[in-house]
């Protein structure tokens, strides 16, 4: 029975979409974590909840409205943060509650919670359609290409904004680009783990990978590997035992983090 599940079409789609999202989240997440923006993904996900509610209310495909709301609120909050000099964590708190509040009000207008809302809150990777899978693959490809093309500029401005500016890198534009790509990534990933657990995919594999003490590329590769491993095992195990994939995926990645901490405290992660 255990190999039989690999023959189902929905399982193929779930695994393909899951791997793409795992790669995307760990790459975007690494830049967010290093910029001390770990919770930004979470805030964007919560604000896109407002977008999803709006879509369901207006009868538009909810992910489209989620994309629009998530990207808009990401750009607006960045602008407001710079203009009024609000700290990063406070601006994240504002964005997060604004999204949920708007979502709740819209939901109550449309007569309360429905099954659709729950699938967005907690993810529904096994229900991902062919069209969704194609969209996820296309977005993952596009974002990874942009990051590869602008790799040095993005890395340098993440490392030190002032020095990057001195070398002539358009730091503000790069910052907006990252925020924009984070907005796209968050909504794309909602189908895998839902609004509530997104930041786990952004943060946990990267925090784990950073502990291995390697250079930037190797850290990114370690993070992607852990992320893909957690998503694949999470989806398969959750199906076999009939439990929620989102929770299982996140618990697997927390398991890898705990194991890494254990190895490190035993002194087995020797520095080169």
């Amino acid at each position: 029975m255990s190999f039989e599940i690999l023959t189902y079409g929905f399982m193929h789609r779930a695994l393909i979409a899951g791997v793409a999202i795992a790669i995307l989240c760990s790459v975007i997440g690494l830049f967010l974590v290093l910029r001390r923006y770990s919770l930004f993904g979470d805030a964007l996900a919560h604000s896109s909840f407002g977008g999803i509610a709006l879509g369901l209310f207006a009868g538009v495909y909810p992910l489209w409205t989620a994309y629009a709301v998530s990207i808009l609120s990401a750009l607006i909050i960045t602008k407001i943060k710079d203009k009024y000099n609000i700290s990063g964590d406070a601006s994240i708190a504002v964005l997060l509650s604004a999204g949920i509040a708007a979502g709740l009000v819209i939901i109550s207008f449309s007569g309360g919670f429905s099954i659709d809302i729950f699938s967005f809150l907690f993810g529904s990777i096994l229900l991902v359609s062919v069209n969704d899978t194609v969209l996820i693959l296309a977005l993952t490809g596009a974002i990874l290409i942009v990051i590869l093309l602008l790799y040095r500029q993005i890395l340098y401005s993440t490392f030190n904004e002032e020095q990057a500016k001195v070398s002539g890198i358009p730091v503000e534009k790069i910052n907006y680009l990252i925020i924009f790509m984070a907005g796209l990534t968050v909504v794309t990933s909602i189908q895998l783990v839902g609004v509530l657990l997104i930041s786990a995919l952004f943060v946990i594999p990267n925090v784990t990978a950073i502990m291995y003490g390697r250079g930037f590329r190797q850290t990114a590769i370690i993070s992607i590997s852990f992320s893909v491993f957690s998503v694949l095992t999470g989806i398969l195990i959750s199906y076999i035992f009939d439990i929620t994939p989102a929770g299982t995926i996140v618990l697997f990645s927390i398991g890898l983090l705990a194991a890494t901490m254990g190895i490190r405290s035993l002194g087995l992660l020797s520095k080169k």
Binding site: L34, K165, V166, S167, F216
Partner: protein, 239 residues
């Protein structure tokens, strides 16, 4: 040719003039030491020169080009900050950091060469968070140099560095200037060091009160005394 030409540079903050009508010229191949007490406007001067603060009046030119009109000057400048700030566990090795300075396609030979020149080749795969102050300073010089700049700008880069590393750093600077012909602009508190290394001195205290050959400055007891008193007062003021 003039590497740098600064004319009538004034920077105003709400209650003070941080720089008042400062003009000077740095010739190609010069080694200029900029000295002045705390709050004299050295950082303000650098911020304007590096394009980090554009709210100034006057003009700043690199190789004859006004930095307000051309962005090309960035590639001629290598900059070493006073205290390089970064996330302590940033997953970057020494060669990752030096590679960031490179404008063109990744050129590993160039990176190796510069690391060897600065005596940090054996550290190339170490995480930057593990390095000592002196090692870190050389990594940031390597990053500034990897792009073959014509001018190297250093902002008091010996704070928190041990004596042995300082000596190594000085000999590296001397070699860069005399052997490789790199124009160096270096702000420092350390009068003796400036006396040893720089061939020109600019003495700044919001206005420029001396600019010329360092021999002239250091042979003029009255000037040195004035400078020392100014910085002493500043020092007392701070405590």
């Amino acid at each position: 040719m003039n590497a740098v030409e600064i004319s009538n540079l004034t920077v105003k903050y709400p209650d003070v003039k941080a720089l008042d009508d400062v003009s000077f010229v740095v010739k190609e191949g010069d080694f200029l030491g900029i000295i002045g007490p705390n709050g004299a406007g050295k950082s303000t001067l650098f911020d304007a020169m590096l394009g980090l603060n554009t709210a100034y009046s006057g003009t700043i030119k690199f190789f004859g080009q006004d930095i307000r009109q051309s962005k090309k000057y960035h590639k001629e400048i290598g900059y070493v900050p006073q205290k390089p700030e970064f996330e302590k566990n940033f997953p970057a090795t020494v060669s990752d950091v030096v590679r960031m300075g490179l404008r063109t396609e990744s050129d590993e030979n160039k990176i190796d060469e510069i690391l060897q020149q600065l005596w940090i080749h054996e550290l190339r795969n170490r995480r930057i968070g593990e390095l000592s102050g002196g090692q870190l300073q050389r990594v940031f010089i390597a990053k500034a140099l990897v792009n073959n700049p014509k001018i190297l700008i250093l902002d008091e880069p010996v704070t928190g560095v041990d004596q042995q590393s300082i000596e190594l750093f000085f000999s590296i600077l001397r070699e860069l200037n005399s052997k490789h012909g790199i124009t160096i602009i270096w702000s420092s508190h350390d009068l003796d060091a400036v006396n040893r290394l720089a061939n020109h001195v600019a003495c700044l205290n919001r206005t420029l009160f001396f600019h010329g050959e360092s021999e002239k400055f250091f042979s003029d007891d009255e000037l040195v005394k004035q400078y020392s008193e100014a910085s002493m007062q500043e020092h007392m003021h701070h405590h």
